[in-house]
């Protein structure tokens, strides 16, 4: 074998703490290495060309690049060696950036370690074999999970590109958090005027099948051919018959149900259409609030419904389908702010969340857009906004910045002034985070033109005194001065968290999630909408909290990825899968027993039982390989001999 070694400086990223030249020189001593050099940026165009030229000039049969993590550029370099005529698997990487230069300070130790990692890669490469993919057909349908603004965008983009789209939404209507907002920053334009038409597009698009009041039950299969089961939850209304006339909601005698859409600002009926612009505009019954279910008698809605759509006997329904790609767009929830006992933990009716305030501001909200405080319906004059409630707070396990609160608080302060001209807003903040286009100008406007008082400091205590709320805070810009504000209404800028059930969904999708339940992107910069599971993409706040423009952008980005994936008729399978050496298999069946994918079957070979791998089903985990006592099953590209060669290369001193 003729091996070429390329040691990348990555500018000063590696070169700063690794003597790349000496690693390249040392590499000549490794077995089968016939060419070795250092290069400034191996991944750049000249860097790749250098590799290609060297392969041709030195007749190389395998290449080692020592640079960044293979999770970053392995595909890049594989394509490069392929362009030079080698099989893409005749290539190995040594990770001397993330695992060496960025974490070690001692240049000698780093250089030594880098050289050893190159030796290890060379040792493995010597046992690499050409591998070839198989191709298989794909299902040209996309599942979008979550019908908020990100999911709507992804669904519409995919559908416009000609793909079948299945959109699954947990709530009875799509629209997500954005549909609850009154206005949006920094333009202060009407939220439902922007979103409403997009929601209608979803309903009318011939390529989109919408399941509202539904959740993903299970996912199996793999990229190109996932098997998905969706649970359509019982709404006790036959949506094929329901016209959305709303007669039932007018007549329903149970009027004390918690209004989810309006964030509990005022009660609602047991049978509801969540809001006038709901898509689908269909009624559904909240079982816990409905007299028919709790008391066993009522039936008013059934009697009144002109189409006979009410069905108290309705059951959940499971629907199965095949899809080629999946976009997760499950959004966020507000965290449970009642952990803040010092803010009353919910005891004071006039301490409300930002989202509740949106509903109070909204013309289609329960107060018709008149700001009335919950306790006595009076119009508040002094409104205090407290930022970072549940954000940047290590003591309650939420160290992260929610990102959008600074901006929506500024917007709400502006709207407050618009609604109540003689009002005064006070905003307690820690830092104003406004890095978007036109954002910082917006936060200046609220102070300069709308006269909002911005006070830098946290609030320590809220307590009622008479019909006022005393807000005890601090102004750190006055040197830690204690300040009191007598407020009529306090609005908490409650931070976001991964939506309920995120970890469970992540497990169904087999994608990673962080300790807060946000889904992990494939790479924070280069794969921001991909996941490490092929065919599953991310859009919106489920990946990390973000505002509407970013959510929409990510929705389109995820759609582009899904469209790209499904633009091919056939996909190439990963050839890094298990293979059985039939001669050595004794048919003990242990591999079959442990395979998580049922990818190994028993076959009869001339009267003897043997194991056989089903190539398109095998995912390449190698569990069978580690289980087979005689090593008759070997995982291609990670064979026993290859790993042993790596171990030996490391332990030979």
């Amino acid at each position: 074998m003729r091996i070429g070694v390329f040691i990348c400086h990555c500018g000063s990223n590696i070169g700063g703490t690794v003597d790349c030249k000496s690693v390249a020189e040392e590499s000549y001593a490794f077995p089968d290495v016939v060419f070795s050099t250092d290069t400034m940026y191996a991944c750049s165009e000249p860097g790749q060309q250098g590799i290609i030229d060297a392969i041709k000039e030195h007749n190389l049969s395998g290449v080692v690049v020592a640079s960044c993590t293979p999770r970053m550029h392995e595909p890049t370099f594989r394509r490069a060696v392929e362009r030079a005529g080698l099989n893409r698997y005749m290539f190995e990487m040594a990770n001397i950036r993330e695992h060496v230069s960025w974490i070690g300070k001692n240049k000698d130790a780093n250089t030594n370690k880098a050289a050893e990692l190159v030796r290890m890669a060379v040792s493995k490469l010597r046992l690499n074999r050409d591998l070839h993919s198989k191709s298989f057909p794909v299902t040209k349908r996309v599942l979008v999970i979550g019908g908020g603004v990100a999911g709507i965008q992804a669904a519409l983009d995919c559908a416009d590109a000609g793909l079948d789209v299945v959109l699954v939404e947990r709530e009875p209507s799509i629209g997500g958090k954005m549909s609850k907002l009154d206005k949006t920053f920094p333009t202060v334009d009407c939220s439902s005027c922007i979103l409403g038409p997009r929601m209608v597009d979803v309903a009318q698009h011939p390529n989109i099948t919408l399941y509202a009041a539904a959740e993903v039950e299970s996912v199996s299969g793999y990229v190109g051919n996932f098997e998905v089961t969706v649970r359509k939850k019982a709404t006790y209304v036959d949506w094929d018959k329901c016209t959305g006339c709303g007669l039932c909601t007018e007549k329903c005698p149970s009027k004390k149900s918690f209004d989810r859409f309006n964030e509990g600002v005022g009660p609602t009926t047991a049978i509801i259409i969540p809001f006038p612009q709901a898509i689908p505009k269909k009624a559904s019954i909240t079982r816990d609030a409905c007299r028919q279910f709790t008391k066993g008698k009522c039936g008013v809605c059934a009697k009144i419904c002109p189409t006979g759509a009410i069905n108290y006997e309705q059951q959940d329904e499971l629907v199965s389908m095949k899809v080629g790609g999946i976009v997760a767009a499950t959004g966020y929830d507000l965290m449970d702010w009642t952990v803040y006992e010092e803010y009353g933990a919910g005891r004071y009716p006039d301490v409300i969340t930002s989202l509740q305030y949106e509903r109070l501001l909204s013309a289609s909200g329960p107060t018709g857009g008149h700001v009335k405080r919950p306790s006595d319906g009076k119009e508040p004059k002094n409104v205090v906004f407290i930022q970072c409630v549940g954000s940047r707070d290590v003591s309650i396990g939420r160290p992260y910045c929610s990102g959008f609160c600074c901006m929506y608080t500024a917007k709400q302060a502006i709207l407050t002034k618009d609604h109540i001209p003689d009002s005064q807003s006070f905003v307690f903040y820690m830092d104003i985070r406004s890095p978007g286009k036109g954002y910082d100008e917006f936060t200046r406007r609220v102070q300069e033109e709308y006269g909002a008082q911005y006070i830098r400091g946290r609030v320590s205590l809220i307590y009622p005194k008479g019909d006022k709320l005393i807000v005890r805070g601090v102004d750190t810009l006055m040197g830690g001065q204690q300040v009191d504000v007598e407020a009529d209404l306090v609005v908490l800028a409650v931070g976001g968290e991964a939506t309920q059930g995120s970890p469970q969904l992540a497990e169904k999708l087999r994608i990673s999630y962080d300790s807060y339940g946000f889904f992990m992107e494939g790479h924070p910069k280069l794969k921001p909408v991909e996941t490490n599971t092929a065919g599953v993409f991310l859009a919106g706040s489920c990946q990390g909290l973000k505002d509407i423009p970013s959510s929409v952008a990510q929705g389109s980005a995820a759609a582009a990825k899904a469209i790209g994936l499904l633009s091919k008729d056939m996909l190439a399978s990963d050839p890094q899968i298990a293979q059985v050496d039939m001669k050595r298999c004794v048919g003990c069946g242990k591999c079959i027993q442990v395979c998580p994918f049922k990818a190994i079957k028993e076959v009869d070979v001339r009267g003897q039982i043997k194991a056989e791998v089903i190539e398109t089903v095998c995912q390449g985990c190698g569990l069978c390989n580690a289980t087979c006592p005689q090593g008759a099953v070997q995982l291609s590209h990670f064979t026993d001999n290859q790993i042993l060669a790596e171990v030996e290369a490391l332990c030979r001193f």
């Binding site: 004794v586 006592p629 005689q630 090593g631 008759a632 026993d640």
Partner: protein, 320 residues
Amino acid sequence: MGMQKELQAAIKAILPEVDCVIGWGSGPDPLHGAPLFMRSEDDANRFASGFFAVNNPALFLPEYKGKKVAVVVKGCDARSVGQLLSEGLIKREEVSLIGFPCQGVVDHDKVAAALGEKGEMGEVTAVLEEGDALVLTLRGETVRLNKADVTAEKCMRCQYPNAHIADTFVGEKREPVATADDFADLAVFEAMSLEERQAFWEKEMSRCIRCYACRNACPLCVCRDHCVATSRDPSWLTQADSVKDKLFFQVIHATHLAGRCTGCGECQRACPVGIPVLLLKRSLARSVEKLFAYRAGIDEGTPPLLTFTLEEPTIKERSW
């Protein structure tokens, strides 16, 4: 002896139904028995059970897969059969077991040691069992040995003298010697420091001649000709005569038997240079029993390393 006759009767009774009955006959000298494959009544008449019926007949069962055989089993042999069954390596309907209450078997190393200056085992011309004693004739003299002094270690801690799986059981079941395995043999070994243990293995393994008799005697080593010890792909071992490789083979053997080894001790008995290779397997058996409450060959269900549970209450993971 009554037991002998009864067993022979049972063997003869089943002969018509099977290809072969596996048991024991007399060996090359009076101190050694040997496996016996019986296909006729004549063969059955040569059957010999008792103190010298040491070999584990379960060893031969996988080769007979597809044919119906019967096998005479001691308690420990039955455990091996049980394990082969639970791994699906043999089929229950193809094996018929004849059990009996085992009174323990000989340890030839102990006999050799007991004889000491008095002579070699090969010189023994006759053996008589008299109650708790063995009466040996060699060099024209008789030597009395206490049976208990020359009984195999595994019998001294035997919990299952009566084959726990048997289609036919001959005789009255006897009380087991022990009710639980206290792994006292390991405790003795573990009185040594880690350094001493390492030195111990270095010294012991230096004698190994890489004959693989240990492996060949193991009823659960079903890879046989395809053992990784000698394969090129995968190539786990070099063929160098190094302690490292020889010890590594023992580790491979033991690891492949983790959760499977029933402790029959055939590996150690087969070792021509007397390396205590059973120790490693005993250590693993102890871990497996402690972690997964599993005794190979006895407990039903999937062997513990071929399955898992979501929570492992017995596994204390590192807090970091």
